[in-house]
Every structure is written in C-alpha cells, then in structure tokens.
Amino acid sequence: MHTPSTRPTNDTTQLAKERNRQAAERTLTCWIGNSLLLMGFGISTQEIYSAMNQSFPQNSSEINSQFTDMISLGAIAFGIALLIPIAITHRLEIKSLEQDDYLVSHPRLFNLLIVVGSVILFGLVALAAVFLVSS
C-alpha cells in the first residue's frame, strides 16, 4: 500500500507526475507494437509456410524448411528479447515517480544503443540470409 508523501507538494507537481507516467505508458505501447511486428512476422512466416506445404505438397519448395524455422524462431526470440528490457525500464520509471526525491536518471543512451544495435544486427542477418537463399 502506498503511503502518501509527507514532502510539501502542489497540484501542478502531482499533475506533472501523472503526465510523466502517461508518457512512459505511451512509450511502452510503441515498443509493444514493434515487438508484435517482430513476433507476428516470425509466427506468420512459419504458419503460412507450413500450411502451404501441407496444402500443396506436390510443389517443390525453394526454401528449406529448416531455414524457414530458423528465421521464424529468430524473429520470435528477438521480439521477446526486445520486450523484456523495455518492460523492466518502464517498471523502474513508474517506481521512480513514486519517490519523494525524484531525479531524472539517464541510462537511456546505453539502452538505446543496445536496441538499435540489435535491430541493425537483425537486418544484417536477414540480408545475409537473402543472399544465401538466392545463391
């Protein structure tokens, strides 16, 4: 149960806290959208490919089944891996709003580098995969 702060405060500060919380919530929904895109790509790739193979078994497939599984599992794993640190960061931000001595902390550059680096890595792997299949 949250105990009310004894530190003097005013409506403007409390309203600002609520706005910060809503901004954090909107940021998290954006990341949920990104993660859904990745997971959805992984799931739909595998499911559609497997359904096509079952419905048209006489067609020879250019794409190796194992390769498709690798891509889909990789995308799902990346989607999950993206969501976990974002959810932890969101929780820490929400908790920090409840503290009396609220201070803006800036570990965000490091987090941003990790996320951007992961997306670039994923893109490079996809590029390599496309060249591998076409060769």
Partner: protein, 161 residues
Amino acid sequence: MTKSRSIAVDNFDQAFNLPFQLKIMNDPDSNPPPPNIQAELARERNRAAAERTLMAWIRTSLSLIGFGFGIDRIVAAIHGFDPAADINPVRLSRILGLAYIFLGIYAMVFATVEHLQQLRQIQEQGSYFYRPRRSLGLTVAVSMICIGVFAFVGILVKSSR
C-alpha cells in the same frame, strides 16, 4: 461556521437588506477558492495526455486483434485449398490468434476504464494527488512475452516432428 460568525453575517444582511445571491456571495463558506491558473492549465494538459494515451491503446489493441484474426484466417484459407486434408481445429495458429484477440480486447477494456477514472480525477474539485497503480502496459507486455514463449516452444516442437 461558528455561532459568532453566523450572527455577524445575519446582522450584516439585515442591516443592508441584501438579496439572496449577494448573501451567498458574502457567505465565506459558500465561496469557492479562486482557481489557480497554473493548476488549471496543468489539468487541461493532463486531460490531453490521457486522450493521447487512450489513442495509443486503441492503436495497440487494433494491432493485436488484427494480427490474431489475420493469422487464423489466412492459415485457414490456405488449408481450405485442399478439401481432403484433415484440418486440426485446435492448431497452433488458432490458439495464438485467439490469444492475441483476447489480449487486444482486454487491453481496450481496461484502457477505457482507466481513461474514465483519469478524467473523473482531473475534474474533481480540490487537490490532485498522483495515484500509483498497476500499469496496464506492463501487464500486456508480460502477457505478450508469455504468448511469445508459447509460440516459440510450439513452433520448435512442430518443426522437430
């Protein structure tokens, strides 16, 4: 209001024969405190922030429901090309599709409830206090992680057969 204060007010009214409205205005207990302009502007900003949050949740819920519905229908349509095939009604794509649809509906319902609570709190007279509460975004994120792990394991088992 104390008795001495009430007597003073009555004497004042009788002396000057004030109409009802002026009597209300001169009664210190019936006068609302003057509005703090900064707080009022902050309340308006909070109302706009709550609206933006609801719109973000509408987008997210639409994506969840759309993906869930789409993956099930597309796989069902592909299976439909082969009428002789025995299609499992409890297949992975259906389970995942239904899970995402349910998550989208859950998110939309609770986002709406939270939005209404926010508006009510903003419009209340008196002091505003930040209310710590469980984050809907965190709940949806954790649910998505669970669904993602289920999908990962499901596809792994399916591909190993």
